[in-house]
């Protein structure tokens, strides 16, 4: 049975909100982010704003803007970016491989995916250190900085 409607355009290729919900969300590097739980629509323009991703019972959901969605397939939603917020919990090493600590908080530029500062917990009674994005060399499973631990401590003293 064919659908009748007054959409004004062909909708054969369109997907529905049901096609988007409950799908695995995978970032640019193949990392599993969570499951899409809500589709967000602007009430004024009626355009898609993004999706909300459920990360499990222990973590807060995150909202991903439509500009960061690469494509939607029958099995998953692919993002065009590595999600910066996923850096939380990563271990930070200095240039020589010395362990600095674990990422506790992340400061972003506005509401974009651009990292401003990492707040790294250095262990019991040693407080946290704020590391600017410019000091980061590699982000993969963990983070490797482009500076040494000594350089970082010197920067902290001067700032």
């Amino acid at each position: 049975m064919s659908n009748t409607g007054i959409s004004g355009r062909r909708v054969d290729q369109a997907i529905t909100s049901e096609d988007m919900l409950g799908k695995r969300v995978i970032d640019q590097r193949g990392k599993y982010i969570g499951v899409s739980e809500r589709v967000l629509i602007d009430p004024q323009t009626l355009t898609l704003l993004g999706i909300s991703v459920d990360k499990g019972a222990l973590y807060k959901s995150i909202v991903i803007g439509k500009g960061y969605i690469k494509n939607i397939t029958p099995h998953a939603i692919f993002l065009s970016i590595p999600v910066t917020l996923e850096m939380k919990g990563m271990i930070v090493f200095d240039k020589t491989g010395a362990r600095i600590g674990v990422v506790k908080e992340i400061s972003l530029r506005g509401m974009r995916n651009t990292l401003k500062t990492l707040h790294v917990a250095r262990g019991l009674l040693r407080g946290t250190v704020a590391i600017p994005a410019s000091f980061i060399d590699t982000v993969g499973e963990n983070i490797i900085l482009s500076v040494t631990k000594e350089h970082l401590e010197k920067e902290m003293r001067t700032s």
């Binding site: 799908k23 695995r24 995978i26 970032d27 590097r29 193949g30 990392k31 599993y32 397939t73 029958p74 099995h75 998953a76 939603i77 692919f78 990563m90 271990i91 090493f93 240039k95 020589t96 491989g97 010395a98 362990r99 590699t138 982000v139 993969g140 499973e141 963990n142 983070i143 490797i144």
Partner: protein
């Protein structure tokens, strides 16, 4: 040890303060190029003929120890050692995703070029299906899950089907 407390006896070799105590590397953390923790240095191996440093033996929390040649070492300090590779043997048990996001299963085995870190193929053993051999050229990225290129079409065969 400070230079002042050492009596030097050498000809054209590097002076004491320009050298590194390889023994101090034992127990140092080994970190892959992308930051993954590979294990800890168990032994430092030297060529008995040339006396040249050849590689390290890495103790891992799971699996066989790894012998990593010095050409794969990026830099080291007393505390840790950074590789210039992500050892592909650590891909075992990683999930493999088709370009449309469908999971094909987990990597069962890796085929490498000799003893190098160059990947030839990955082997998946899906449930109720025959082993699936995926060549390295079909792989798009291996950062987290192994992602395949969209042009690669997987042909599944059930165990009761002929090859």
């Amino acid at each position: 040890m400070s230079v002042s407390r050492v009596e030097p006896i050498f000809r054209s070799e590097r002076p004491f303060d320009h050298t590194f105590n390889l023994g101090a590397l034992e127990g140092a953390e080994v970190i892959a190029a992308q930051g993954a923790i590979v294990g800890r240095v168990k032994e430092v191996r030297v060529d008995p003929q040339t006396l040249r440093f050849e590689g390290i033996l890495v103790r891992r929390s799971g699996g066989k120890p790894l012998y990593i040649g010095r050409s794969y070492i990026h830099r080291f300090s007393h505390r840790s050692l950074i590789l210039n590779i992500n050892p592909i043997v650590s891909l075992v048990e990683r999930e493999v995703l088709r370009s449309d996001g469908k999971s094909l299963g987990k990597i069962h085995r890796i085929v490498r070029k000799g003893t190098s870190n160059d990947l030839v193929a990955i082997i998946i053993r899906p449930f109720f299906r025959k082993e699936l051999v995926i060549p390295a050229r079909a792989i798009k990225s291996t950062h987290h899950a192994v992602m395949l290129h969209s042009h690669y079409h997987v042909k599944h065969r059930y165990i009761w089907q002929k090859s």
